[in-house]
């Protein structure tokens, strides 16, 4: 995990209401904010014609960072999906790498320019490589959990996807297998209300994806995905339970896609300004700051300082990454097969 440069030594002691320490809360804010600011910069670069494609997690930072922080870095695995910049930051990606990924630079540690941006993957960091095909990763997560169980490794795998992606057969097959073998997997659904243009009622006839847990004999939970602290407080005990052999979880984080689907999408054709404005008021980063400020966890200056640090990092990273080498044309070749 990228070291979070704390302003002063934060307390490691849990704050009762939060179940999180000051240090963790700072990390939480830092990662959420970094995800947002990186995404903003990425979109700006796209609008300037300097980045061909952006797909972002704006509105889902709390869902992502809160869940990822409930895992043990270096031990647990994540099989994330394209919006999960927040998850990746928690798992050790830094701003520079995020920018290398955006620009498909030769040294992007995720895909070396071979995949679209936001297709994560890093073996050493336990981030499972992913394609654009949604929901396939749920089965990979199950396979990792099966293997770990066979080896008696006490790990947990968190696999995430959008609510629309739960319509695919692979979702069913993954949860079914995990249920049968009581595997240590958290299926984590970031329900942001849309699958590109389709609202949730086009994807399912039920209100909560999490209600599907019963169909597989596994645990289900719904959490307010705009509240990072609640997310953490929901996912952390589930992680502990599944690690202890309690079987898989299906957790649904209710959130909202604050931006269009991607830089190629025009969302004005299928949703109203009014809807957007309503949700903007629930912005997870804004909410978080308001809460920790009103609870006086940190002085506002500290939070401002984190904001400043994030801005600096993003700016520096964008500049640095732009100057990094592109892949050569013939870098298209190689590694079709692994040689050991």
């Amino acid at each position: 995990m990228a070291a979070v440069r704390t302003r002063r030594d934060r307390s490691q002691t849990r704050i009762d209401d939060y179940l999180l320490s000051e240090a963790q809360l700072e990390e939480m804010y830092y990662h959420m904010l970094l995800a947002r600011r990186l995404n903003e910069r990425m979109l700006a670069l796209n609008r300037q014609g300097r980045a061909p494609f952006v797909i972002a997690g704006a509105g889902q930072e709390a869902a992502q960072v809160g869940a990822a922080m409930a895992l043990k870095k270096g031990i647990d695995y994540v099989a994330p999906y394209y919006r999960d910049l927040g998850v990746n930051l928690v798992f050790g990606m830094d701003a520079r790498e995020a920018m290398l990924n955006l620009l498909a630079k030769r040294d992007d540690p995720n895909a070396f320019g071979r995949q679209m941006p936001s297709h994560w993957g890093n073996r050493e960091r336990h981030v499972v490589t992913q394609s654009s095909v949604v929901a396939t990763q749920l089965l990979h997560a199950v396979g990792i959990a099966l293997a770990a169980k066979m080896r008696n490794d006490p790990i947990v795998v968190l696999a995430s996807c959008g609510e629309g992606s739960t319509s695919r057969g692979d979702f069913h097959e993954a949860l079914n297998f995990a249920g049968i073998h009581k595997l240590p997997v958290i299926f984590y659904i970031e329900n942001n209300g849309y699958a590109i243009t389709e609202r949730t009622d086009k994807e399912m006839a039920i209100e909560h994806v999490a209600d599907r847990a019963r169909a597989y004999g596994i645990h289900g939970a719904v959490v307010d995905g705009m509240d990072a602290i609640r997310v953490y407080q929901t996912v952390a005990p589930a992680v502990a339970e599944t690690r202890g052999g309690g079987g898989p979880y299906l957790i649904e984080a209710k959130c909202y896609r604050l931006w269009a689907h991607s830089s190629d999408d025009d969302d004005s054709r299928y949703r109203t300004k009014q809807e957007l404005e309503e949700w903007a008021r629930k912005d997870p980063i804004k909410l978080f700051r308001e809460r920790v400020e009103s609870d006086r966890i940190f002085p506002p200056e500290d939070l401002d300082e984190i904001e400043q640090r994030v801005d600096d990092e993003v700016k520096e990273a964008a500049q640095w990454a732009a100057s990094q080498p592109d892949p050569a044309p013939e870098d298209a070749l190689g590694f079709v097969y692994k040689e050991l």
């Binding site: 061909p52 494609f53 498909a104 895909a111 320019g113 071979r114 995949q115 679209m116 941006p117 297709h119 394609s131 654009s132 095909v133 949604v134 629309g164 992606s165 319509s167 695919r168 057969g169 692979d170 699958a195 590109i196 243009t197 389709e198 086009k202 994807e203 399912m204 190629d264 999408d265 054709r269 299928y270 592109d326 892949p327 050569a328 044309p329 013939e330 870098d331 298209a332 070749l333 079709v336």
Partner: protein, 325 residues
């Protein structure tokens, strides 16, 4: 007469077919809002209840279309990107392709699966693929890959009217790139026919989709150098118009097969094999293929994408070699 892009040709044909045949309907992801390429823009409002958003599930898009076609409808399924059809492979291979065969024609499936394919759009591994080779090895499925707006119109109509499952491949790079004056009257193109688009005596180039345009451009350049090419627009890939393919090979004795798809096991192999068997005595040179390299799929970065994509220069270079042979 009106100038139309490929995407306009498709959209207008869909509208006409929805108007003229009330058995037709559209099923796919995001089609109600117009689809990601806007092929179905405005249609949901014009044809209420007949443009249906599917959940994000490709096997179901195909499988449900099969059922509806069996019942007597004429579903037009949209797979958002050809790259995502793989989850529907089973429904196409095990079911759609055999529906007529296994019932000896007692049942049949008038259905179309439209899907954008091909690269050169910065789509990376999963928004650039060529999928035709898989389906050209599936007797019972027809595969169509037009290049010009007028052919998109006539072949899409023919596909919808055909009583068999048709995979209708739309090269996404050409959607807005290629324009043509299109007659109001239906063009003559029929399913199952290829067309000799350009005639020349030195060598024959076979292509489809974006590569047909690149091949024509290459042929123009080559003509300036005194190399006269025949260019065959394959149009329907399965079943193949063997007659036209072989005629064109025999005419020139030298053949160059072009496709964007990766080389090994690509559709070009079948073309080469046909020619090497049935036009052998006419051949004056090795059969050449220009194709994508044998890597899983197109990389994202533009430099590597450019490396992957065949284009007019690579085609012209191969043609020069062949002409000089």
């Amino acid at each position: 007469m009106a100038e139309m892009t490929v995407i306009e040709a498709i959209r207008s044909t869909l509208a006409e077919e929805l108007t003229s045949d009330d058995r037709t309907f559209i099923l796919g992801e995001d089609v109600e809002a117009g689809g990601v390429f806007r092929a179905t823009e405005g249609l949901a409002a014009r044809f209420p209840g007949r443009v249906i958003d599917s959940p994000l599930a490709e096997s179901s898009i195909i499988g449900i279309s099969i059922g509806a076609a069996h019942y007597g409808m004429r579903p037009i399924a949209e797979i958002q990107f050809a790259d995502f059809i793989h989850a529907g492979f089973d429904q196409l291979c095990s079911e759609a392709s055999r529906w007529s065969y296994r019932t000896k024609g007692d049942s049949w499936l008038p259905m179309v699966v439209r899907t954008p394919w091909g690269g050169g759009v910065h789509g990376g591994q999963h928004h650039s693929q060529s999928i035709e080779a898989y389906y050209c090895h599936m007797p019972g499925i027809k595969v169509v890959a037009p290049s010009f707006p007028a052919d998109y119109r006539s072949l899409l109509r023919a596909a919808i009217e055909d009583p068999n499952p048709v995979l209708f491949l739309e090269h996404k790079r050409t959607y807005r790139l290629i324009k043509q004056d299109v007659d109001d009257a239906p063009a003559e193109t029929r399913l199952g026919r290829s067309r000799i688009t350009r005639r020349g005596n030195d060598l024959t180039i076979y292509a489809y989709g974006l590569m047909l345009h690149e091949s024509l451009a290459a042929a123009d350049t080559l003509a300036g150098e005194g190399i006269d090419c025949t260019v065959v627009d394959l149009l329907t890939l399965n079943p193949l118009d063997k007659e036209t393919v072989l005629e064109a090979a025999k005419m020139t004795g030298k053949v160059l097969i072009v496709h964007e798809d990766t080389l090994t096991g690509g559709f070009g192999g079948e073309l080469a094999a046909l020619i090497a068997e049935h036009a052998f005595e006419y051949l004056d040179a090795p059969i050449r293929r220009v194709a994508g390299p044998d890597i899983p799929a197109m990389p994202f970065h533009h430099a590597m994408e450019g490396f992957f994509m065949p284009n007019r220069d690579k085609i012209a270079a191969a043609a020069r070699d062949l002409a000089a042979y």
